[in-house]
């Protein structure tokens, strides 16, 4: 935690004394505003803080143990270095109440990320970026399943609004989609246990597959409807809401690969002037993923709006 405190403090100070950079926008492509999604990565580079993201869901049983009810509290911070390049830091505290009555708690591995936005088409409301996530091995608690090895996930992120649809389909113009495609590559292909042995007395070997990741969202922007298509007279706070369905799927592709797992998350995001609130149901796609419905709640700050002259500007 001391490292996090120092890193955040240094970032605040560095950003506060740095004046350069052009005023840009979080999640905009032309007149389209893409909200920050709760479960999947966004296609844009921005100065933003999610604090907290609270989640609860029931995990499926695995070879390592029975299912558990997992509650998480996460922080995600992203900082623009230039107007198109940014870095991120994430931490996630987990509490797992296992089926056998035991409880485990602690931090998952720290996450670091970098993202470069290489394409934006304002009239077409399109945006695309590439990025790299680094799940830093050995920085979390083994009790909650944090791995001792790192995982690197290069990815591509896209967003597209449908504001250019013809007049006959004008009520579909508020629609937008985002997508995130990545391949999670562990730094170690297998781990040999020193405490668990197979029936022949040999140390058990756990294999770590590469994992294909596929996520995204379908969203219908009521602010877009009211500002650009038709003011249907909806009162606040509904006129600032964005109904959304997120999907977050993954599939191991080698080393004893299993099937798809993931969740479908229907919910709603309310976007205010300097922050947004999001609430989603978390529905597992199969029993391998888990059981029952979970919840995800997020408070998200637009730092470029809160601190336009300091913390919310690109460093360069």
């Amino acid at each position: 935690m001391k490292h996090l405190t120092h890193a955040l403090g240094a970032l605040c100070i560095a950003a506060s004394v740095t004046g350069g950079g052009e005023a840009s926008a979080h999640g905009f492509a032309g007149k389209r505003f893409f909200p920050a999604t709760l479960a999947t990565d966004d296609p844009f580079v921005s100065d933003e803080l999610s604090l907290p993201t609270i989640g609860q869901r029931r995990l499926g049983a695995t070879d390592d143990g029975p299912g558990a009810l997992q509650t998480s509290a996460a922080l995600d911070y992203t900082k623009r270095i230039t107007s198109n390049f940014g870095v991120g830091l994430s931490a996630n505290y987990l509490r797992q109440r296992n089926a056998d009555g035991t409880t485990a708690k602690g931090f998952d591995n720290w996450g670091l990320s970098a993202k470069y936005q290489f394409y934006k088409n304002d009239p077409g409301e399109a945006i695309a970026s590439v990025g790299l996530d680094w799940d830093v091995g050995g920085t979390g608690a083994r009790a909650v399943g944090a791995e001792s090895f790192s995982t690197f996930t290069p990815g591509v992120f896209v967003g597209k609004g449908f504001g250019s649809l013809p007049e006959g389909a004008k009520y579909l113009r508020p629609l937008a989609v985002t997508g995130a495609f990545g391949l999670a590559v562990p730094s170690r292909s297998s781990t040999t246990s020193s405490t668990v042995f197979d029936d022949d007395g040999n140390p058990a070997v756990e294999r770590h597959p590469d994992v294909l990741k596929f996520g995204g969202s379908v969203q219908y922007s009521l602010p877009y409807l009211h500002s650009f298509v038709k003011d249907v007279g909806m009162p606040d706070p509904f006129r600032r809401m964005i109904p959304v369905v997120e999907f977050d799927l993954q599939k191991p592709i080698d080393r004893g690969a299993g099937g798809w797992t993931g969740t479908i998350n229907p919910g709603v995001i309310w976007a205010g002037r300097t922050m947004q609130l999001g609430l989603e149901a978390v529905i597992p796609v199969n029993s391998r993923t888990g059981g029952g419905m979970g919840l995800l709640f997020q408070v998200h700050f637009f730092l470029d709006d809160l601190f336009p002259q300091s913390l919310g500007r690109p460093l360069f």
């Binding site: 935690m1 032309g30 604090l51 505290y93 500002s227 003011d231 002037r273 709006d305 809160l306 601190f307």
Partner: protein
């Protein structure tokens, strides 16, 4: 997350000079509306104060010809432009808003005059 980390973050948030992007909150005539009577002006109400010198508001007819009087006025978060007596038809309002914290937003919408 430790209490110390939370304190650092909240301090950062607390000392912020809150401003924001200027979103179009309301418009007269309303976005996508059909009005039987021609308006004397187009009025847009934003969620933020605007920088008058760099905010624009223009009105075009269905043929793409500019029809407003080019006399845009900005008063805090309200931007308006007057128009001559307009015939029945469809008109497009095109705006660009620079909020006082230098964030730019832009957009357009149509309204109709007639029954």
């Amino acid at each position: 997350m430790s209490r110390r980390s939370v304190v650092v973050l909240l301090l950062c948030l607390a000392c912020g000079e809150a401003a924001a992007h200027a979103f179009l909150d309301r418009a007269l005539p309303a976005v996508g509306s059909v009005t039987p009577q021609a308006p004397a002006e187009i009025r847009l109400i934003f969620t933020q104060k605007l920088e008058p010198a760099f905010s624009t508001l223009r009105v075009f007819d269905a043929a793409g010809k500019r029809v407003d009087k080019n006399d845009k006025q900005v008063d805090a978060s309200v931007m308006r432009v007057s128009v001559p007596p307009l015939q029945d038809g469809t008109y497009r309002v095109v705006w660009r808003a620079l909020s006082v914290d230098t964030h730019v937003t832009e957009g357009d919408y149509t309204f109709q005059i007639g029954k």
